[in-house]
């Protein structure tokens, strides 16, 4: 892979002439803007940047980015992206998927792109609903979600995308939500990570699942409900105006996290954990924290790179072709051969 050259662009350079067709007020708009703002800051080159998506409202995303884009079929974007990356490792791939696209029909491919660790940024827009097909419950819908297919409320246990990603072997797991000002930072960290970087982005579907994330995403009281993680910083939260007053500690007997009272001065004594983004066990606990008794863990939850799939493929190629020369004529005539001469049919 060539060292990427930083390119000067502005937000405008990343916008297409296509009319954006999401419902007015849809969280997808905010995510689009966040991405279009972030890419110039990263110095990305539009010609090498590609957006690959499945099917869903979220998966319309590539049409609005002035890059190469591939709107594929439902659930299969990870596979298409894997092939594209192997064919051209220089491509900077952003994958866009939804909770249905990425965890229902495409759950299998999501598992494998993560465990293989193909270098790309995977943005899963989680609106806890099937938006495009008009509002059926999805694999992330909470129990009791009323939808056209669950008129008295759903009873499927929801999947937790970040937890799924960790279980699948992801080496980067981040979280953000559509309108949060920190989303670009998560995107930047994901981009800096070499390997499959999984970002769960809570997204408000104002038509079919309006405000389901308000409990933690609403600006009012956000400090108490959002735990923004930063590597090397104590896991403190609370209203910044009145001062952070709580922290996350580890109950070492019960092996689970707890919320403790702590301040920016007293956190060490209170046993508040310092976020270590390479700690996989704590990452599992953070993404599993039940919201309500705990805040929502957001930001870069886990970031511990391993060799990427495409680099292993290249390495294997080098190993298995060392000293070998492509010679088609020789290849065709290999194996156990014999010659029939010009006149007699006898084998030589």
């Amino acid at each position: 892979m060539n060292a990427p050259v930083k390119i000067e662009t502005t937000l405008k350079d990343w916008e297409t002439d296509q009319e954006v067709r999401w419902c007015p007020g849809c969280g997808d708009y905010a995510i689009l803007k966040a991405v279009q703002r972030t890419l110039p800051q990263l110095g990305c080159d539009p010609k090498n940047t590609v957006f690959i998506s499945g099917i869903g409202c979220s998966s319309r995303f590539p049409y609005y980015m002035e890059t190469y884009g591939f709107h594929t079929i439902h659930g299969r974007a990870p596979a298409v992206a894997t092939g594209a990356k192997l064919a051209n490792p220089d491509l900077d791939i952003w994958l866009v998927t939804g909770d249905g696209d990425g965890l229902s029909i495409g759950g299998n491919h999501m598992l494998h792109v993560l465990r293989r660790n193909v270098n790309m940024q995977i943005m899963l827009f989680n609106n806890e609903i099937y938006g495009l097909t008009k509002g059926q419950f999805s694999p992330t819908s909470r129990i009791g979600t009323r939808s056209p297919s669950t008129p008295v409320g759903s009873f499927d246990r929801p999947a937790n995308p970040a937890s799924f990603a960790l279980g699948a072997g992801a080496r980067f797991v981040g979280r953000g939500f559509d309108v949060s000002k920190n989303l670009p930072d998560v995107l930047k960290a994901a981009h800096a990570h070499k390997g499959a970087a999984f970002i769960e982005i809570f997204q408000n579907c104002i038509v079919y699942n309006k405000d389901v994330f308000e409990d933690f995403a609403a600006p009012k009281g956000a400090g108490d409900r959002q735990l923004w993680l930063e590597h090397g910083k104590p896991m403190l939260f609370g209203d910044p105006k009145t001062g952070l007053d709580k922290g996350i500690a580890l109950d070492r007997d019960g092996l689970h996290l707890t919320v403790v009272d702590a301040t920016e001065d007293s956190w060490q004594d209170a046993g508040v954990l310092v976020h270590d983004a390479t700690n996989r066990v704590i990452a599992h606990m953070l993404v599993e924290m039940p919201f309500g008794s705990f805040p929502m863990a957001l930001g870069v939850i886990y970031d511990d790179p391993r060799p990427t799939y495409e680099s292993s493929v290249a390495e294997e190629r080098e190993k298995s072709t060392a000293g070998k020369q492509a010679n088609l004529a020789k290849l065709l005539g290999s194996g156990q051969t014999w010659t029939v001469d010009g006149t007699a049919a006898d084998p030589v």
Binding site: M65, T72, L86, L332, G335, T339
Partner: protein, 653 residues
């Protein structure tokens, strides 16, 4: 290709062709024995065709009927195009092998049986109440029964192997005997064993000792028993370098050659499935030819990854068999809609569902031509033999990149596994067809869907400056490729996609045997080529006016095919399905194509095709060979045209 009649040998002493079937337990190494015997046959200059027939179970319980594995080879001093109808020689390594294969043996054929395995226990497992070697039930055959097991143990005694290990060389002992029977050199097999067991010289020596002992046994047995040495002279063939090749090897090499001719790296996405896996295995070893192989999580991922790779500028290839091809259907539509090149290889097997994984069938033809949602036309090419698969693979690549379309290449279980001699082609004799990617705008506006004179859109690699654009499965505008659902546009795009495929230049259909016009054309496709070829030749030798037409380009069909078919009074379409190509021909040309169908998992036999052909000729002057009793009421006459004949012929349609 010779078109004279070829008669099966009457006298075993001077045959021009012989059919041998090696049958044993799946653990007996019959496929290996067959493979090495094939090599020695090829080295002896005979033409040949093989038919490996093995169970679906990896390790079926020993001695059972469903654990029998067989390898049939037909070889001769003349052109051979099938693995042969009925064996002249059956080697039965145990009772189950005898039971399963006996019915195929020619009356008067030779059975070679290992008495060491005809124990009470094994007879029970094979459901024999009495020992067939002793109860007289094999009276109509020649029988040579002796204790191969004991002779093998004796032969390898000096190597101090345990009984179990010693018995592993039984197949080499048997091969040694077979080599003697057909007057073959042992040297190449010695070389092969020494190479195969280069790290275990003792095992190599033991196997060689067994081989030599089997060979020596032949010489002594000749004096007394029914065993006689037969020499089959070489078949005169064109000079050049030859090798044996299976369909799976041939497809792999053809794809590599095609990618080189297109000057593209190849990306191959696969998911293991019988009988397609062998292509993945072959290509995985050819990385130095710019091949990347990817074992995906399922067939959908395999094709989608190949599509992603094609989008990024490689030649995307994927391969599977029926169930996996079914899974790929939606993604084929994506490749059709995004107009990206892709080659999809379908090594057909018996279906539906899991069906008969290790047996052959041609029942995915509808699936290949029609099996996608929407109006989704796609070219289909079918290989007729292992070596032909090489040419077909190159052709599939050429069409895919010229026309920016997925192409399906059909082979089947028989072609995939069977081996035949192949005159190694010179790659320089193929016209290269390098791909021209679009690298700059051809006008103010970027038009990724503007078609060239072939109807193909430009191929633009991501990473190209100034040509950024978006593609996808949603209907798109005729030229810009932007989303466009408008009625006129969908009509225009549907028409354009169809016209592009309809107008693919495919060679005119030739007549393989016989001539344009006449009483009967036997029209086939795929691996039925061999048996049809022989059956038509033999029928012609008996005076029947029958011609062979074998179609490679299944979609689009050759432009002259309709007129050609209409030049015959009757059209018979033998296929290993319930009549799919017959229906396609009827639909395309309104010809009264008659089906001849077989779905037993076994290839057609020459004799059954001959019998069917003869039914068209009973009562017609010049036919002395009618094999079916004449029923004048039911018979067509040449004058009676097309309409009267359809009910008299058996068909399982």
């Amino acid at each position: 290709m010779a078109t004279q009649a070829a008669h099966s040998p009457d006298s075993p002493q001077s045959p021009d062709a012989v059919v041998v079937r090696f049958a044993g337990d799946s653990g007996d190494g019959m496929q290996l024995t067959g493979g090495q015997f094939t090599l020695s046959t090829a080295l002896a200059g005979n033409d040949l065709a093989t038919f490996p027939d093995f169970p679906a179970e990896i390790r079926a319980p020993q001695g059972t009927l469903f654990g029998v594995s067989a390898f049939q080879i037909n070889f001769g001093s003349r052109e051979i195009s099938t693995a042969g109808d009925a064996p002249d020689v059956l080697v039965a390594m145990n009772p189950a092998a005898l039971k399963v294969n006996l019915s195929a043996l020619k009356p008067g054929g030779l059975i070679i049986a290992d008495t060491g395995e005809f124990t009470k226990r094994n007879l029970d497992k094979a459901k024999y109440e009495t020992n067939p070697l002793e109860d007289g039930s094999l009276a109509k055959y020649k029988l040579l029964a002796f204790d191969i097991s004991a002779l093998t143990i004796e032969a390898v005694k000096e190597f101090g192997l345990g009984n179990k290990d010693a018995l592993r060389s039984k197949n080499m002992w048997t091969l040694g005997l077979a080599l003697w029977m057909f007057d073959r050199s042992r040297e190449p097999i010695h070389d092969w064993l020494n190479h195969k067991f280069r790290n275990k010289p003792d095992i190599a020596k033991a196997n060689i000792a067994a081989l030599d002992a089997g060979h020596a046994y032949g010489e002594t047995a000749e004096l007394a028993g029914p065993l006689q040495q037969v020499h089959i002279p070489p078949n005169p063939t064109a000079p050049g370098l030859y090798r044996t090749i299976t369909g799976a090897e041939s497809v792999s090499l053809g794809l590599v050659a095609g990618a080189q001719l297109a000057e593209l790296p190849m990306f191959f996405g696969g998911y293991p499935i019988t009988p397609a896996s062998a292509i993945l295995h072959h290509l995985a070893r050819l990385k130095e030819y710019g091949v990347t192989t990817f074992q995906a999580e399922d067939e959908i991922a395999a094709i989608c990854a190949a599509i992603g790779a094609s989008w990024a500028g490689s030649l995307g290839v994927t391969s599977s068999s029926g169930p996996g091809i079914a899974l790929k259907g939606e993604a084929m539509g994506l490749a059709i809609m995004t107009e990206l090149p892709l080659v999809i290889v379908n090594s057909q097997r018996g279906g539906p569902s899991t069906g008969l994984p290790t047996k052959t069938e041609q029942s995915d033809l509808y699936q290949a031509i029609y099996g996608r949602n929407g109006d989704a036309p796609m070219p289909v090419i079918s290989a007729r033999s292992p070596s032909d698969a090489f040419e077909c693979a190159i052709e599939a690549v050429r069409i895919a990149v010229h026309y920016m379309t997925p192409v399906m290449l059909l082979t089947d279980g028989y072609i995939a596994n069977a081996a035949e001699p192949w005159k190694v082609p010179d790659p320089a004799s193929y016209e290269p067809f390098p791909v021209n990617f679009m690298t700059e705008r051809r006008g103010e506006q970027l038009l990724p869907y503007k078609r060239n004179e072939k109807g193909a859109r430009p191929w633009i690699k991501p990473g190209t400056p100034d040509l950024m654009h978006r593609i996808g499965g949603i209907e798109k505008h005729e030229e810009t490729g932007n989303i466009d659902y408008s009625p006129d546009n969908h009509q225009a795009m549907t028409d354009a996609r169809k016209a592009k495929i309809d107008n693919i230049a495919v060679p005119d259909q030739e007549v393989s045997v016989g001539q344009e016009g006449g009483s009967l054309a036997v029209v086939g496709w795929g691996s039925t080529y061999g048996p049809i070829h022989q059956a038509v030749n033999r029928s012609r030798a008996k005076g029947m006016d029958v011609s062979q037409i074998h179609v490679r380009n299944i979609w689009p069909l050759p432009a002259n095919l309709g007129a050609l078919l209409k030049s015959y009074d009757h059209v018979l379409v033998p296929e290993m399905n319930t009549g799919q190509f017959k229906t396609v021909l009827r639909d395309q040309y309104l010809v009264d194509a008659q089906p001849l169908t077989k779905t037993s998992g076994q290839p057609f036999q020459i004799a059954e095709l001959e019998a069917e052909i003869a039914k068209f000729f009973d009562g017609i002057e010049g036919n002395e060979g009618g094999q079916v009793p004449t029923n004048d009421d039911q018979l067509p006459t040449r004058e009676s045209g097309h309409d009267d004949g359809s009910s008299r012929r058996k068909s399982s349609h």
